[in-house]
């Protein structure tokens, strides 16, 4: 079993994007998602690819790392676009095998859907996970959602839960690996046998894993209480977020990108149906 998840991990750096306000980056991600879904024809997608390349350059993260991170998602990308090839009905029939007909429009559609997913992944991961620490991210989210506190929504508690959950993902992965190794050393076999049998082999992993997760949770709660944590009310922060002009510029740039995409959509060529 491979537990390597480099996709969505923070990569240290000193680029412009790293230094930006997390709130701006969250807003930018949302804008970017909207822009990606606005794009309808190959011109627009060309523009999006260009913007993704610019983003990677601006983040200073090696494209190798980003490509490696996307590897795990190759299957989803290929699967969604292949389904599109066979499902789309169009005007230009290329060939048909029995009940399966492949149209030129289907292929164009498939290419654009694949591009859409790829650009979406690059954009959001570069803005949020690769260049923003999980703590900064949840901090930013908490402040963006702060108006909801007026509606008595537990915004602080929610973001604290998210911080803790993110913090413990690597720890739990490491723990799982250790427990798996310990059970393998006693002859546990995770790779063969029927589905029922394999499900059963998970018990020796899940039981110790849950127990240690509960133990950790309790220890963490005690440690937080020892430091007088009682929730978000009246808590001051060590890192106060400051929005700077470049954060505003980033958001404006994205709005402009959206406008240009709407313009290029009108340039003609095959247009994506949804």
């Amino acid at each position: 079993m491979n537990l390597d998840i480099s996709f969505g991990q923070y990569c240290e750096g000193k680029s412009v994007l790293h230094r930006m306000d997390p709130r701006a980056k969250i807003i930018a991600s949302v804008l970017y998602i909207i822009v990606v879904f606005l794009a309808k024809n190959l011109w627009s997608f060309g523009l999006l690819l260009l913007s993704a390349a610019v983003l990677i350059l601006a983040s200073g993260i090696s494209p190798k790392i980003i490509l490696k991170g996307m590897k795990a998602l190759t299957f989803i990308i290929i699967f969604t676009s292949v389904i599109n090839i066979f499902w789309m009905k169009g005007e230009t029939l290329l060939f048909s095998l029995g009940f399966v007909s492949v149209y030129l429009e289907g292929i164009l559609n498939a290419i654009m859907i694949a591009l859409r997913i790829i650009v979406l992944l690059i954009g959001t991961s570069v803005f949020m996970t690769y260049t923003t620490t999980p703590i900064a991210l949840t901090d930013g989210l908490e402040q963006l959602l702060a108006p909801l506190k007026k509606l008595h929504l537990p915004v602080h508690e929610f973001s604290m839960m998210m911080t803790i959950a993110l913090r413990f993902i690597p720890t739990l992965i490491e723990e799982t690996q250790k427990i798996m190794n310990a059970q393998k050393a006693r002859g546990a076999d995770f790779a063969s046998g029927s589905l029922m049998k394999r499900a059963k082999t998970l018990i020796p992993i899940l039981v110790p894993l849950f127990i240690s997760a509960f133990r950790r949770a309790e220890e963490l709660a005690t440690a937080m209480e020892c430091r007088c944590y009682t929730g978000g009310d009246g808590r001051t922060r060590m890192n106060v977020l400051h929005a700077s002009p470049k954060d505003v510029v980033l958001c404006i740039l994205l709005v402009l990108l959206g406008m240009v995409v709407i313009f290029t959509n009108g340039l003609g060529g095959y247009s994506l149906s949804w």
Partner: protein
């Protein structure tokens, strides 16, 4: 009595990635026979990696692991058989306990080996006895045991497979001095009775000095020293130079030498030092 031979072993974590780490660098060793071998070294010196190569949890990047004359990776499908022969007790093994009763938990290994219920039962009782677990505890939940008892239950779970080579990674870590001594004595006792080869990984020089016949010192992924306790600890100045400790009594002996009482460099147990000092003092008086 098994013998493991490591031939030119190198191990790299994340080979080919920007953050690759060479944990072991061209190591050749033969471990086994009816002895207790100690492996010591700093955190990050490659001890735990080495130990996980012995039972095939990790596959060496370069080199071969030969168990009883056969390369263990010759047929990767049979790697499970290697794990029954080389029993590994991991660090803090009490966190691997999972079954409803201690008895069932100890039986996990033997059941995986495909033994009949009678055989399994016999193995469980035998292993519990070796590990110093009272029979009354066997029907309790492993989560109701004390820390020391949990550690013993986990140890019994590996002994129950009757491995030819028993490897223990920091078996006494986190136990109080009494618990330490008890569990290490159980291991030593088990080695004497069963004739199994035992490998103990430890930070504690005192434990090494008391319980091991041979000591291997690792440093930065290489074998730094390899010899009997007397040989290794007599080179205490080199050990200290790489930031490792030596038994307290070795320090005492080296200080005594400065004051003119030379009892030799190979002092590493209090018992031996006492005898030597008495011999010296009486000899001088005579």
């Amino acid at each position: 009595m098994a013998q493991v031979e490591l031939q030119n072993i190198s191990f790299i974590y994340g080979a080919g990635e920007p953050y690759e780490i060479r944990a072991l660098d061209n190591i050749s060793l033969t471990i086994g026979g009816s002895t207790v071998t100690g492996i010591m070294g700093h955190t990050g010196s490659g001890k735990s990696t080495l130990v996980q190569l012995l039972n095939g949890l990790l596959k060496p990047t370069e080199g071969k692991v030969i168990l009883d004359g056969k390369d263990i990776w010759e047929d990767p499908k049979k790697i499970r058989d290697v794990r029954f022969k080389v029993g590994l007790v991991m660090q803090y093994p009490e966190y691997q306990l999972f079954d409803e009763t201690v008895r069932d938990d100890i039986a996990f290994g033997p059941r995986n080996m495909g033994m009949s219920p009678d055989e399994v039962n016999a193995r469980v009782l035998e292993a519990a006895q070796f590990a110093g677990l009272k029979e009354a505890l066997l029907d309790k939940s492993p989560f109701d045991l004390s820390g020391g008892q949990k550690r013993r239950a986990a140890l019994a779970g590996v002994i129950a497979m009757r491995p030819e080579l028993l490897v223990l990674d920091e078996p006494a870590a986190g136990l109080d001095p009494g618990g330490r001594e008890e569990i290490l004595n159980s291991i030593r006792e088990y080695q004497k009775i069963s004739g199994t080869s035992v490998i103990i990984v430890s930070h504690s020089m005192e434990d090494m000095a008391l319980y091991c016949d041979r000591v291997i010192v690792m440093e930065a992924g290489r074998v730094f020293m390899d010899g009997t306790c007397a040989e290794v600890f007599s080179r205490y100045d080199e050990l200290i130079s790489v930031g490792l400790d030596v038994p307290q009594i070795t320090y005492v002996a080296s200080e005594l030498k400065k004051y003119g009482l030379d009892i030799g460099r190979d002092v590493y147990t209090v018992k031996y030092a006492t005898a030597k000092i008495l011999e010296k003092v009486r000899g001088d008086n005579a």
